[in-house]
Structure formats: C-alpha cells, structure tokens
C-alpha cells in the first residue's frame, strides 16, 4: 500500500552565504494510512521544521515530500495542524473558533455544526461552547485548537509539540483526550515531541531524530494494544522502551549518530 506521508531525503537550509544553517540534513521515512507516529528528538534538532515542511508551510531545499499521493508544495485542506500555541482568536467563542476553518474555506457552516459539537463533547468542552479563550485554561484552549484542526475532517493531522507548554498533570489528561479522539477518528498522525514517555504512550511507531547531522537515526515499533490507559505507563515493558529511546537520544546528542538506516 502506498504510504500516506512519504519523506524522501528531505533537506532544509536557512540563510545564505556565511549565515547558512542546516535545519534538516536528510530525512527519509514513510507513514502508513491511519498510523500514529511520533517524531522524537532533542530541542533544536529540526523536527518542527520538518513538520512545517510536511504541512506545506516551509519549502524544502532538496528532496521530496508526498502526502496523500500528491507532492506537497503548499498548505492543503486535507491536512490539519495543531501548533504549540493554541492560536485561538480572542474575540471568538469556542464554537466560533472551531468553525473558523470552515468559514475561511467558504464551506457551509451549518453542515459542520453537528460535527463541531461532537468534537467538543469528546474533549469535554460541552460547557465551554460559548466562552471566550480568556475564560479557558491552557489545556482547554489546546483542546479547542485540536477540535479546530479536526473540523474539516482532514486525512492527516500534524501536531507540533502541542502539549509542551502545559503543566505535567494537564499534559497527561491531554494525552488521553487525544487517544480517545484518535480511537474515534483514526487519522494519520505525525506528532512532534521531546517527551519520551509521551511518544511511547501515544504512538504506533517512534522515529528518533538526531541533531548534527539532523536525520532519522532510530525507529521503534510500540507494541501496546489499543485502547491504552494510564496503567501501561507503569509496566516494565513501557519503561524498557523509554530507556532504549533515552539511550538513543543520548547517542544522538553526543553526535556519534548510531546510523539506524
């Protein structure tokens, strides 16, 4: 089967002349349809830049990205994005924020109202439908942003460290909210994070990205069955996986680059 997302020797260089900076050296990987993949790496390794290129928000310097069978060159309606910031419009209510993409794409708002309410119910925001962002907590805002990314029923969901600005407890809650949503809608997800436990808890597969050179250095399949709950976080196997990933990241940091490919 053709992969949903395919990155082929993707390279990204910022700047010109002396100020040149290589953000991504050579990233090659493929994600199957309906797969939940985490891109894990130390901060500054270029994983967010890679995600932005897959989203069509940054042009590639070299290489090729194919998403949903089409080469990526600009943003597309079938790709939803969740940023680290909730990026909500402060003068709009929760519901208006969720329906904002529908309005902007000039689709029929009424047709998506039911879906918006379903999504908000799934993330436990039924009581906050008519509230403004300033009345919501950080976790609630990010849940609104998650619903907004899913409102247009995209095939692919790209998430750029969406929970990294939240406190640890809220972050755990958000992980389970996301798992529930994913169980319901089964999107192809690429989730960028620098939290090892988050990566193992959420994904089917973890790609480890190293810095200098910035490329995929290791990949691991997460064997846990779904639906997953908080209990797997306590299991020995979970902690072994985390330890393995941690050692790989340490290697990547040291710059030796244990070539996984």
């Amino acid at each position: 089967m053709q992969p949903e997302i395919h990155c082929d020797r993707v390279r990204k260089v910022f700047g010109k002349g002396r100020a040149v900076f290589e953000a991504v050296s050579c990233a090659t990987f493929a994600i199957k349809k309906g797969e939940f993949v985490c891109l894990l790496g130390p901060s500054g390794c270029g994983k967010s830049t890679l995600l932005m290129m897959i989203a069509g928000l940054e042009p590639v310097t070299a290489g090729r990205i194919v998403a949903g069978g089409l080469p990526m060159s600009e943003p597309r309606a079938d790709i939803g994005i969740v940023f680290q910031d909730p990026t909500l419009l402060p003068w709009k209510t929760t519901l208006q924020n969720v329906l904002f993409p529908i309005e902007m794409m000039r689709r029929d708002r009424a047709a998506y109202l039911g879906r918006a309410m379903d999504l908000l119910r799934l993330v436990h925001l039924d009581d906050a439908v008519h509230k403004r962002p300033r009345e919501l907590s950080g976790g609630m805002r990010q849940r609104v942003s998650l619903c907004r990314a899913l409102i247009g029923d995209p095939a692919i969901l790209l998430m750029d460290e969406p929970f990294s600005a939240l406190d640890a407890i809220t972050r755990d809650d958000m992980n389970f909210v996301l798992l529930e949503l994913w169980d319901r809608y089964r999107k192809t997800v690429l989730f960028v994070t620098h939290s090892i436990r988050e990566a193992v808890l959420l994904s089917d597969r973890v790609l480890v990205m190293g810095s200098r050179p910035s490329q995929i250095i290791f990949e691991i399949t997460v064997p846990f069955t779904r639906p997953r709950d908080a209990a797997i976080g306590e299991s020995a196997q979970f902690n072994e996986l985390c330890a393995l990933l941690r050692s790989q990241i340490e290697l990547a940091r040291a710059g030796t680059g244990a070539a996984g490919h």
Partner: protein, 273 residues
C-alpha cells in the same frame, strides 16, 4: 482599575477596616487631584488680588469666571465653528489613517514606498507648514480642516499599522495553513486584533485635531475660539482670552471622553462578550 484593586482584598479578608481603607483609597484618587487644583486656583486668586497685579497681565480666576458668564453668548458663538471643524477633521482623519495603514499592510510595495516617508514626515515640525495651507487653500474653513487632518491622521496611521502587524507569527501560520487570502487575513484576523492600537492612536489624534484648528484660526480667521483668543489678547482682555481657553479645555476633554467611551464599548465586546 480602582474598583478592581479595591475588590481584591475585599473578597479575601472581608473585615470592615479593610473595606473602609479600600473605599477611602478609591475616593482619595478623585479627591486629591481636585483639592490640589482648588488650592492652586485659590492661591492664584489671593496673589492676583493682594499683590495688585494688573488684570491685563494676570486676572484673578473670579474675573475669568465673570467673563465666562457675562460673555457666554459670544464665547458660545465662537465655540461652535471650532468644535464643528475639529469634529470634521477628526472624522476624516480616522478613515484616512486606517485606510492608508491597511493599504500599507496589505501591499508590501505600498509599505516600502510609503512607510519611510511617513516616518520622515513625522519628524517635520508640522505646525511650521500651517501658513502654507492658507496660501494653498485660502483663509476659509477648508484650509484649517485640511491642516488639522494633516497633523492628526499620522498617529492613527502609525498606530493602526502597528496594530495590524501585531498579529503573532503562529497565527499567520495558521492562516496560511487554512489557505486564507491576504484580504481574508486583513479583514478576519488583522483588523479585529487592532482596536486597542487604533484607539490609542485616536486619543492622540483628537487632541492634535483641536490644535490644528486653533492654529489655523490664529493665522487667518474671522471666527472660532482661536480667533477670539487672539482678538482678546490684542486688546489686553486677558480675562476673556483665559475664559476662551477654559472652554477650549472643556471641548477637548469632551471629545477625548467620547473616544474613551467608544473604546470602552468596543473593548467590552472584544474582551468579554
């Protein structure tokens, strides 16, 4: 602001002394400046009367008040054109400033062509250009209003441009990911982000609009408070001139108050509901 600060300790420690103290602090913020002004006026009155300063140099406040009451019909007659022309100039400079700012943010070409020149114009002492407006547009109302627009639309333009550009980078990324057009971004995201900036520009602009009109009246006019001040000064009727200035202050305060009122209404919609 005062209410907020007062209610915070009230909720936590609802003891009567704390309540009394916070209420008193609130009143003090009003009472103190008013008392200071009254003391100043009384001192002025006392010095002007006891030291025997000629009224042409410094009339006591009581004489100014007499003029204000006695010549009220005359002063009012001259207040109307000044207020009208100020409102006209301010009313034109708001859409002008906002539209130019929108054009600059919408088109990179327009931005690069205009913005450095606008900053350069900001540095010119624009009052110095006032006589030229009389040369260009004559001694009538149009020259005063045009000059007033000329000096009052800059702060609106600069503030609006800053507001339209205050949208965060991630928000613009979201807009791009939704494939919104430049026009959609301007109307749906940039403009609704800007009201706080636009109002701060308007507050500066409204005071400049009055200055523009009064300066115009100083140079060439047969009516308006600027004309009456000049007329009274030339006849050493300092008390009448000061009465006109007092009225000018009231007009200025009232217009400023209207802007603040609009700001409160808009910001309430913008923030809470």
């Amino acid at each position: 602001m005062v209410e907020e600060r007062a209610s915070a300790p009230l909720a936590s420690a609802s003891s009567p002394p704390a309540l009394r103290a916070s209420l008193w602090a609130g009143q003090l913020a009003v009472v103190l400046p008013v008392a200071t002004a009254l003391v100043f006026l009384l001192a002025w009155q006392a010095i002007a009367v006891t030291a025997g300063i000629p009224p042409a140099i410094l009339p006591p406040p009581s004489m100014v008040l007499d003029q204000l009451v006695g010549n009220f019909p005359l002063i009012l007659k001259h207040t109307i054109p000044t207020t009208y022309e100020t409102l006209l100039a301010f009313g034109i400079s708001i859409p002008l400033g906002i539209a130019l700012a929108a054009l600059m943010v919408y088109s990179t070409l327009a931005y690069q062509a205009l913005y450095p020149n606008i900053i350069f114009f900001q540095l010119i002492p624009k009052i110095a250009l006032a006589p030229l407006f009389i040369v260009w547009l004559g001694i009538g109302s149009p020259s005063r209003v045009t000059f007033s627009i000329f000096i009052s639309f800059f702060p609106i333009l600069v503030a609006t441009a800053a507001g339209l550009q205050s949208v965060e980078t991630t928000m613009l990324r979201l807009c791009r990911s939704l494939r919104m057009s430049q026009w959609q971004v301007l109307i749906r995201v940039r403009f609704p982000t800007s009201p706080p900036f636009i109002f701060s520009g308007m507050k500066v602009a409204v005071t400049l609009a009055i200055i523009g009109i009064v300066v115009g009246e100083f140079i060439a006019s047969q009516q308006g408070l600027g004309y009456l001040i000049l007329f009274a000064s030339s006849r050493q009727q300092t008390d009448l001139a000061l009465a006109c200035i007092a009225v000018l202050c009231v007009v200025g305060l009232a217009l400023y108050g209207c802007v603040v009122l609009c700001e409160n209404v808009v910001m309430r919609w913008y923030d809470v509901r």
